[in-house]
């Protein structure tokens, strides 16, 4: 029994990927690991006073979204775990995949501008993960 890593943000665009990962985990009898990465680049060009720890606020929101994903998986009888990280998305996915002994990394097919990656960029990144870590990747 392996572990499938599914990076998610929540929202309607992510549900398709979550559903694909849940179905695959059920078929293979694998455990699901949902990952949320805190990305604060949106604050880069704002000089507004940032006196709160935005990273912590967004991480708490991410953990809530992960909990929703976990509930969706468990409703389908799939065991799911969650993990949230702060940092650069590409690096964090690779790190988590290696640290958690993941057997498969699953990505959602980019849906227009809402996605973090464009398709060509994502295919290249998936190939990079396979090359560097030997972990299988799927774009669903």
């Amino acid at each position: 029994m392996g572990i499938i890593l599914c990076t998610t943000r929540g929202g309607p665009a992510s549900y398709h990927t979550q559903d694909g990962a849940i179905t695959l985990a059920k078929e293979r009898g694998d455990t699901l690991l949902f990952l949320y990465v805190v990305d604060l680049h949106f604050l880069d060009k704002t000089a507004a006073p940032i006196v709160v720890d935005v990273g912590d606020e967004v991480q708490e929101m991410g953990e809530f979204l992960l909990l929703i994903a976990k509930e969706r998986a468990e409703e389908q009888g799939v065991t799911a775990k969650t993990i949230s990280r702060k940092g650069e998305v590409r690096e964090e996915i690779k790190k988590v995949a290696q640290e958690e002994g993941v057997s498969l990394v699953m990505f959602g097919r980019p849906a227009g501008q809402e996605s973090a990656f464009q398709l060509a960029e994502l295919e290249e990144y998936a190939a990079e993960i396979e090359r560097e870590t030997g972990i299988e990747t799927i774009i669903c």
């Binding site: 929202g11 880069d44 060009k45 704002t46 006073p49 006196v51 929101m61 979204l65």
Partner: protein, 467 residues
């Protein structure tokens, strides 16, 4: 001092009203230094509005360019001299800088207690599954918080929990977060410390905290009521089908996020905060004590009482914002000194003529529309000298300061037109994207334009009737 310089430059034009109009009609050109300073300002605005550079970097680059042109260009050709370093310092409104700094220190300590999330979660429980009521409470909480604390901080503290609640209830997070952003800009207009345009204008004309509150809070409340009514109409279908409750696991998670983290600090912050606000109200009684002195006194007392790590405390003061304001005052100072602002102001004066009504409508709506397109902070700093000239020349404007109120309302409410208009809008877009909801420019405007138009109409009627 800065006001003296502004006025002295305007008196070149304002001997009598007819002289101004005649002067405006005949004066066809401005000096090379005025053109360069205006060019630098326009480039800075473009860089900020289209996010080509960080706001602080853009403003700093603008200020430095003005000095380099003055000292290096002016060395070879005196006509290129825009403003000296010493002259520029007179344009920096230190009352604004220290007021914002004092409030930042207060906010940094208060926000660590988690009190805003605690309040937001209590309001959710109080709504007892009525989705519309939940949104109403959250929007009102944001509006009130923004009246006393910085708008961006209010959004950063309240919006993440609101997004979670909306998703859990099966409601589009746009219904809550866009309304909260609009409420933060409206609420910011209610007090002198609520929004930077309010602080800048209030400090410029020496308004007291109470005087500002009496004039602006009623219209801000009316605009907030209009916002919630429009939101109810816009999202009536979504509210009808939203869930009435959320799963116990999710409620447990929200509750654990919403605990008060440090009761002693919270009590101290509330006590000192109350004292500070009392000082804001009575500041005028003590020889027109600037509000920055009251804010810094509160911040200093709180630091001494709470004893936070000073290194951490200083890191939490957002120096980039303070530098942004200083650089901005310098860039606009360059335009005032060279006559670029006066040139523009006389043209607007010709447009307004003798009519105070026309001037009110023009100031409110030009400020409103401009603040939706460009950042409302640089706009306000640049528009202030223009309003000075209009106020000095239009009969009846000086007694009531009505054109300054028009500028404040236009800049604060107009910031809602597009998501480029003010910083909370940008931050909310980023937070929504982090939750997987991409808020496009058009989608934001679908909600924001009706609210902005209605609130600007309310503001215009208020100004015309009240003054």
């Amino acid at each position: 001092m800065s006001q003296l310089i502004l006025l002295s430059s305007f008196y070149l034009f304002t001997g009598t009203e007819s002289a101004v109009l005649e002067s405006a009609a005949t004066e066809g050109s401005v000096g090379i230094a005025a053109l360069i300073s205006a060019g630098i300002f326009i480039l800075m605005i473009i860089a900020i509005s289209f996010r080509l550079l960080h706001e602080t970097a853009a403003a700093l680059l603008g200020a430095v360019t003005i000095f380099l042109v003055t000292y290096i260009g002016g060395h070879f050709n005196p006509a290129l001299s825009i403003i000296t370093f010493e002259g520029a310092m007179d344009f920096v409104d230190w009352n604004v800088i220290f007021l914002i700094m004092g409030m930042m220190i207060f906010m940094a300590i208060l926000s660590e207690t988690n009190v805003f999330k605690w309040l937001a979660f209590r309001l959710y429980l109080r709504a007892k599954g009525n989705t519309w009521l939940i949104v109403l409470w959250l929007v009102i909480l944001t509006g009130i918080t923004s009246a006393f604390l910085n708008n961006v901080t209010a959004i950063l503290l309240i919006a993440p929990l609101s997004i979670q609640l909306a998703i859990a209830l099966g409601l589009s997070p746009f219904a809550v977060v866009i309304a909260e952003v609009l409420a933060s800009n409206i609420g910011g207009a209610a007090t002198l410390i609520g929004d930077p345009p309010s602080t800048i204008v209030g400090s410029h004309i020496g308004l007291s905290f109470g005087e500002y509150l009496v004039n602006m809070a009623p219209v801000a409340i009316l605009c907030l009521i209009a916002l919630v009514v429009i939101n109810r109409i816009q999202y009536r279908k979504e509210y009808a089908v939203a869930k009435k409750s959320i799963s116990p696991t999710l409620v447990e998670k929200l509750e654990s996020e919403s605990d008060i983290e440090d009761f002693p600090t919270l009590y101290k912050a509330l006590f000192i905060g109350t004292l500070t606000f009392v000082l804001f109200f009575v500041a005028d009684y003590f020889g027109q004590m600037p509000l920055s002195v009251a804010a810094l006194s509160g911040a200093a007392l709180l630091i001494v009482w709470v004893r936070p790590d000073m290194e951490d405390m200083l890191r939490e003061v957002d120096w980039t914002t303070l530098i942004f304001f200083i650089a901005l005052f310098i860039v606009v100072g360059g335009m005032v000194t060279t006559g670029a602002i006066s040139w523009l102001a006389t043209r607007i004066l010709v447009l307004a003529g003798d009519s105070l009504t026309r001037a009110i409508v023009l100031t409110t709506w030009i400020s409103g529309i401009a603040s939706g397109i460009v950042d409302n902070i640089p706009f306000t700093v640049a528009a202030l000298p223009i309003v000075d000239l209009l106020t000095a020349n239009i009969p009846g404007a000086e007694e009531s300061n009505v054109l300054y109120w028009s500028l404040i309302l236009g800049a604060d409410l107009g910031g809602n037109f597009t998501y480029l208009g003010s910083a909370p809008n940008i931050v909310a877009v980023g937070l929504l994207a982090q939750a997987g909801y991409q808020l496009s420019f058009d989608r934001f405007m679908r909600d924001s334009v009706p609210v902005t138009i209605v609130t600007l109409v309310i503001a215009t009627i208020w100004l015309l009737v009240r003054y």
